[in-house]
C-alpha cells in the first residue's frame, strides 16, 4: 500500500517528476555514452597504433633502448634470425624489422627534419597495414629503385606529388654525411595523424645505400592478432604472456616492450579525459539529487495533513519515512530506467554507425592539426557495449534517490501529529 501511494504520488505531479527524472536520465545517458565512447576510443587507439606504428611488441637491443630518442644506428639488433626463429614457435604471430633514423627531407628550397623508417616491404605488410592505406601511387617494392613513401599531409605541405623527386639526407652508421635522391612512389593516408603529417618510408635496401647499415636493423615489431570483439584486457593479457616468454630467451641482450608500456602516456591522457567527462556526469546527478530532495520536500509540505492523518491512525515515524523514501526510489528507478533505455539507443548508433570526430574538429574550421588535439588516432570512433555501465548507472540512480530523499523523509517522520493536524 505504501508503495502504491508512493507510485501514484510520483505520477500525480507529472511535471515535477518529469523534470527531475529527465535530468537524472540525461546523466545516465551521458555516462553510458562516454563510457562506451572511451572504451571504443581506447581500443581503436591501441588497435590503430598497433597496425600502423609499432605492432603489439617492439624489441630493441639493450644499448639502443637506453638511447632510443637519438635513433643510434650503431646499436642494432645483433641476431635478428634468433628472434625470427623464436617467433616461429608461437602460433599466428608475425615479425618484421625496421630501422628508424633522423633525416632531412629536401624539395627545392623547402626542407624538414623527420624520422624516416626503413622497412622490409615483404614482411612489413604481414605486421602492419600501411600497404592498404595508400591514397595515391603504390606501396614500396623490394627492388633497387630509389623510391620513398610519404605521408599525404607532409607531401601536401611540400607540394610534392607522386613521381616527383625529393632528397633525403642523413648521417650514416659511421657518422658521415650522405644524401640521395628518391622518387615518391606513393602517398599514405592512415588514421594516425603523425604518420600522415611527418612519415617517410623507404626500403631497407635503399637505406643501406644512404646509411651504410651493413644489413643491420634497429627494431623488431611483432604482430599479435586481435580477434574481432576481443576486449582490451584479454588482448593485453595475451600480449603480456608472449612478452614474458620472449623475455626468458632474450632478456640478456634485448629490451622488450609491449604496447602497454609504449602507450602508457596516451593511456594516462585518456584517463584524464575520462575523468573530466565523468565530472560532468557527476554534476548532472548532483543536480538531480537536489531535484529529488526538493521534490520530496515539497511533497512533505504539501501533504503535511496526510502525514498527520497517517500518524493519527497510528503509523509510526519509520513508516512515514518509508513512504517518502519510496517516492524517491520510484523516481530513481524511473530515471535510471529511462536513462538506460535512451542510452541503449545512442549506444546502438555509436557502436554500429560510429561518431566522426574528424568532422567535428576539421582542420579547416579549427586550424589545428589532428596531431595537436592530443589524440594519437583519428577518424570515426565506434562505441562498445558495456553491460556493467548500465548496471552501475541504474544502481547509482537508486542510490542517489535514496540518499537525496532520506533527509526530507526523515524530516517528515519527525513532525508532531498535533502540528500536522492543526488545520484539519
Amino acid at each position: 500500500m505504501l508503495l502504491k501511494i508512493a507510485i501514484r504520488n510520483v505520477f500525480r505531479h507529472r511535471r515535477r517528476t518529469i523534470l527531475t527524472v529527465l535530468v537524472m536520465s540525461v546523466g545516465v545517458v551521458f555516462f553510458i555514452f562516454f563510457d562506451s565512447l572511451f572504451i571504443g576510443i581506447d581500443k581503436m587507439l591501441i588497435e590503430e597504433l598497433l597496425k600502423y606504428q609499432d605492432g603489439a611488441i617492439v624489441i630493441y637491443s639493450k644499448e639502443y633502448a637506453q638511447n632510443k630518442k637519438a635513433y643510434p644506428l650503431d646499436k642494432p639488433i645483433k641476431n635478428p634470425q634468433k628472434i625470427v626463429n623464436l617467433v616461429k614457435s608461437f602460433k599466428d604471430i608475425e615479425v618484421t624489422f625496421r630501422t628508424n633514423f633522423l633525416a632531412e627531407l629536401i624539395y627545392f628550397e623547402k626542407s624538414k627534419y623527420i624520422v624516416a623508417t626503413a622497412i622490409d616491404p615483404t614482411t612489413d605488410t604481414k605486421v602492419f597495414n600501411l600497404h592498404n592505406k595508400i591514397k595515391e601511387g603504390r606501396f614500396l617494392i623490394d627492388d633497387n629503385q630509389y623510391e620513398i613513401l610519404l605521408g599525404k599531409k607532409l607531401a601536401d605541405e611540400f607540394g610534392v606529388k607522386v613521381g616527383d623527386t625529393v632528397i633525403l639526407s642523413a648521417y650514416t652508421k659511421y657518422n658521415t654525411y650522405n644524401a640521395l635522391e628518391f622518387v615518391v612512389c606513393g602517398l599514405l593516408e592512415t588514421p594516425v595523424p603523425t604518420i600522415n603529417e611527418s612519415s617517410v618510408f623507404l626500403t631497407l635496401k635503399c637505406a643501406e645505400e644512404l646509411l651504410t647499415l651493413d644489413g643491420s636493423v634497429t627494431s623488431a615489431h611483432i604482430k599479435v592478432p586481435w580477434k574481432k570483439g576481443e576486449k582490451i584486457a584479454t588482448y593485453t593479457k595475451k600480449v603480456l604472456y608472449i612478452v614474458e616468454r620472449l623475455k626468458k630467451e632474450l632478456y640478456s641482450e634485448y629490451e622488450i616492450y609491449s604496447f602497454r608500456e609504449l602507450y602508457n602516456d596516451f593511456i594516462v591522457l585518456m584517463d584524464q579525459k575520462k575523468l573530466s567527462s565523468f565530472i560532468i556526469v557527476f554534476f548532472l546527478l548532483l543536480i538531480s539529487a537536489v531535484g529529488i530532495a526538493n521534490t520530496i520536500l515539497m511533497a512533505v509540505y504539501e501533504r503535511i495533513k496526510e502525514i498527520g492523518v497517517l500518524m493519527a491512525f497510528g503509523f509510526k515515524p519509520k513508516q512515514i519515512r518509508k513512504l517518502f523514501l519510496l517516492e524517491g526510489v520510484v523516481m530513481g528507478v524511473i530515471g535510471g530506467f529511462l536513462g538506460c533505455v535512451l542510452a541503449v539507443g545512442l549506444n546502438f548508433w555509436l557502436v554500429y554507425s560510429g561518431w566522426n570526430l574528424e568532422a567535428l574538429y576539421a582542420e579547416e574550421t579549427t586550424g589545428l592539426k589532428a596531431s595537436q588535439l592530443g589524440v594519437p588516432v583519428w577518424g570515426r570512433f565506434y562505441g562498445e557495449w558495456n553491460i556493467y555501465a548500465y548496471l552501475f548507472c541504474f544502481c547509482f540512480c537508486i542510490l542517489v534517490a535514496v540518499f537525496s530523499s532520506y533527509f526530507p523523509a526523515r524530516y517528515a517522520s519527525k513532525l508532531q501529529v498535533r502540528d500536522c493536524l492543526k488545520f484539519v
Binding site: I5, R8, R12, G308, V309, A312, F313, G314, F315, V424
Partner: protein, 229 residues
C-alpha cells in the same frame, strides 16, 4: 475491559512566549463504552483541545487519562502512537482522505499496519463497511470524484474499519450543508448502535443536538454542563 474513558483533573496550558493560555481547566469526565457524546461550546472554549487529549494526539499539562483502567500518563510518543493504532480512530472536519487512493483503498488504509489480520478478513471488513455507509458501487472512485458528504462517509468507514474503542471527530459536519450534516450524524449514530463503538464529537450546530445521547458544554476550558438525554 470496560471500555471506559476517564479524565482525571485534566488541564492543558499553552505557552506562547510570555502569554499563557489555559485551554482546559481541571476537567473530570467519565465516558462509558458505546456512548454518543457531543461536545459543544463557543469558539475557543477548548473543544479541539479536549478531543486531541482524549485522542492521545496531545498530552495534558496536568492530570491523567485512563482507558480501560489503564493510565496513559508517562507514555512515550511511540507508545501513544501504538495506543492510537489499537484503540482510537478519527474523523476530520475536512475529511482528509488520501487523494491518490480509491474509496476502497482509503478505507483499508488503517489496516495496512495491522499485521495480525488476514487479507481476506481485511477485504471482508472493507466491503461490509462500504455497504453500511451507503457507498456501494463507488468503491473504485477517487476522492475528487465524490461529494463532501460521500467523502465523509468514506472517512467514517475508514474510522471504523479497525474496530476501535472510540471514534473522535472534531466538527465532522462543519464543511457540509445542513441536510448532509444530518445524514452523516445519522450514519454515525447507526454505527454507534450497531458496533457499540463510542463516538465523541464536537459541533457548533444546534440541530445536531437532538441526535446526541449526551451533551457536554464547554466554556472557557471548563465543563459548563454535562447532561445525558
Amino acid at each position: 475491559m470496560d471500555g471506559k474513558i476517564i479524565l482525571k483533573n485534566v488541564s492543558k496550558v499553552y505557552q506562547k512566549g510570555k502569554i499563557k493560555v489555559e485551554a482546559l481547566k481541571n476537567i473530570n469526565l467519565e465516558i462509558e463504552k458505546g456512548e454518543f457524546v457531543v461536545i459543544m461550546g463557543p469558539s475557543g472554549s477548548g473543544k479541539t483541545t479536549l478531543l486531541n487529549i482524549i485522542g492521545c494526539l496531545d498530552i495534558p499539562t496536568e492530570g491523567e487519562i485512563i482507558y480501560n483502567g489503564k493510565t496513559l500518563k508517562n507514555l512515550s510518543e511511540d507508545e501513544l502512537s501504538e495506543y492510537r493504532k489499537q484503540n482510537i480512530s478519527f474523523i476530520f472536519q475536512s475529511f482528509n482522505l488520501i487523494p491518490v487512493l480509491t474509496v476502497k483503498e482509503n478505507i483499508e488504509l488503517p489496516l495496512v499496519i495491522e499485521k495480525h489480520l488476514s487479507l481476506k478478513e481485511k477485504e471482508k471488513r472493507v466491503l461490509e463497511l462500504i455497504e453500511k455507509v451507503g457507498l456501494s458501487g463507488m468503491q473504485d472512485r477517487y476522492p475528487y470524484e465524490l461529494s463532501g458528504g460521500q467523502e465523509q462517509r468514506v472517512a467514517i468507514a475508514r474510522a471504523l474499519v479497525k474496530k476501535p474503542l472510540v471514534v473522535l471527530a472534531d466538527e465532522p459536519t462543519a464543511n457540509l450543508d445542513s441536510q448532509t450534516a444530518i445524514e452523516i450524524i445519522q450514519i454515525m449514530r447507526e454505527m454507534n448502535e450497531k458496533e457499540k463503538t463510542t463516538f465523541i464529537f464536537s459541533t457548533h450546530d444546534p440541530k445536531i443536538e437532538k441526535f446526541a445521547k449526551r451533551i457536554i458544554i464547554l466554556k472557557d476550558g471548563s465543563i459548563y454542563s454535562d447532561m445525558r438525554i
